[in-house]
Symmetry: C2
Amino acid sequence: MTTDRPLRVLLADDEHLIRGALAALLALEEDLVVVAEAASGPEALAMARAHRPDVAVLDLQMPGADGVKVATALRAELPDCRTMIVTSHGRPGHLKRALAAGVRGFVPKTVSARRLAEIIRTVHAGNRYVDPELAADAISAGDSPLTAREAEVLELAADGAPVAEIAERASLSQGTVRNYLSSAASKIGAENRHTAVRLARERGWV
Amino acid sequence: MTTDRPLRVLLADDEHLIRGALAALLALEEDLVVVAEAASGPEALAMARAHRPDVAVLDLQMPGADGVKVATALRAELPDCRTMIVTSHGRPGHLKRALAAGVRGFVPKTVSARRLAEIIRTVHAGNRYVDPELAADAISAGDSPLTAREAEVLELAADGAPVAEIAERASLSQGTVRNYLSSAASKIGAENRHTAVRLARERGWV
DNA sequence: GGCCTGCCATGACGTTTGTCATGAGCAGTG
DNA sequence: CACTGCTCATGACAAACGTCATGGCAGGCC
């Protein structure tokens, strides 16, 4: 384990308080150096392009583009840059999306800074790290039983829109939309589509 | 401004990463000292009883009891302890609840640590501080136009329950429930009760 | 090639809604 | 006291919704 070259980190979090504090704490680690900070998704991308960090630590919820979107873009633009997600609310679905996007680390904000530094090193070494508790949640939540279209229609129904509007936005007939919503709700075990939306959200299926 | 006696601060946040980082940053301020940390509502209360801080900095969302509940309890038990809320997602309703509970500071986590330290001093001096943007949101959201029963029924409708169930839980007839939901939705300006629930939540009316 | 599954649609049916009119009891206010 | 607003209820009607049966059409698999 040579420490000849410091590990360059990009920090992206819209909460200034946390980002600053985090940067200060990570600076205490000998082998880590925070080369850039960002407060939004697009800014994170721009910073990554400019500074080419070894590891990008991304908050899940950021204005502009969320952590997973940023990770996807980074994977395409800077394949050498490892990405990891830090989040407050670890929903199973987020974890899945993140792993699919090539994210190599997924940790809740309940870990300590020291532990985070360790995980950053782990990720940089090419390994993966997923918080055990979040992983357990994801496994217990299981895979989505919904087909692609069911999930799509359910998502459009998320804000309480009437069937007519969903049909228009999905370019489907109203009858088809009703059928999809019906089958989605029965698969999920919900009485109606609204509770179906809620449950699907909780389980990370939308 | 004499610095004879340091300002004793209690820090409560369930996210270890943030709490630790925050403690480190606040420790840099000459006149502040973090005398206790807590990761949950009940723990925050216990710590406050034990250490009697001058100012309690509380996260809004914590397991056990949220920041506002803790502030309410502190107000009763330790009237000399000023309380302030720090939050990621500043909903207008939270602000109102907080102020009603006697909280003297309400800031989003997007502020810098230095700014937070200033606000802690402001609050300790007996003044109030509310983030201007959150205040503007709260004002623009206005007061709830809903009557007590309308709000109650709307809340019961929050999880997508059918009218029959709401009627039973509220001990009302189904027709009455429909009427209340209808009037609530029209007051809010929503197409149906589900969007009404969503909007009311956003504005802090439920 | 058959078979299955997912995708899309239509039509029909009964149920659940949203909406409106209407009314009665009951508080608080000018 | 009259007035207003909230509460609760009923009945009725149209619209929206959930469910089912049915069918065509694509793609993957034995």
